[in-house]
Point group: C2
Chain length 124, copies 2
């Protein structure tokens, strides 16, 4: 089995760097049966998920990762659960918002794609 | 397939009600290969996980759930991913702390057990 912590770290670095630079480029990480629940709104499929992410109502965005935790989610096929907490800076806002996000990564051809993706802002 | 949102809601209600009343009683929710990552510390197995939870350094604890999101994590065996955000009140503290927690639930005999459990406090 691949080192799930190393996979999680590499995925998280790549995902948020890409998100902050050009979220259109996240499409290849999703498949037709991928699911995104973003602030309670459910979207299914790579095309719909990318459209959802690209149309989020901000131009500039920066993610600062606070914690990344990973666990094997399935010993047979080697899928990995990744849970992230961090801070989000949007456009010209000075105050970051806290967020948490969970990914379920499925191995395929030496790489991983996102089957499950759940995002929430954290309010006090 | 069971209604994964209904399963998630019932699980979350039961889990935190039990946690806040008597966390020793959470043992039956875990199995020998269950994993808990609590604030970055990894524990495996029902006995070790319960010991970890029971020995957390507080007497009274109350969870207030803000959001519960769920997705099917595996169409073949019907496992469910549940992501929770909420507030934690410990002992006589007046200021709640934000937390996020992710569970991966496996169906078995008409019920579900926890294979993956990742908990984090969220700091600004």
């Amino acid at each position: 089995m691949a080192d799930f912590n190393a996979v999680a770290k590499a995925f998280v670095d790549f995902y948020y760097e890409t998100f902050d630079r050009n979220r259109q480029e996240l499409t290849p990480l999703y498949r037709e049966n991928s699911m995104l629940t973003f602030e309670g709104q459910q979207t299914v499929g790579a095309a719909a998920i990318t459209e959802k992410l690209v149309n989020l109502p901000f131009q500039k965005v920066g993610h600062r990762i606070s914690t990344t935790d990973a666990q094997p989610a399935d010993f047979e096929r080697g899928s990995i659960l990744v849970s992230v907490t961090g801070l989000l800076l949007i456009d010209e806002e000075q105050n970051p918002q806290m967020f948490s996000q969970t990914f379920h990564l499925i191995p395929e051809g030496g790489s991983y794609w996102v089957f499950n993706d759940i995002f929430r802002l954290n309010y006090a």
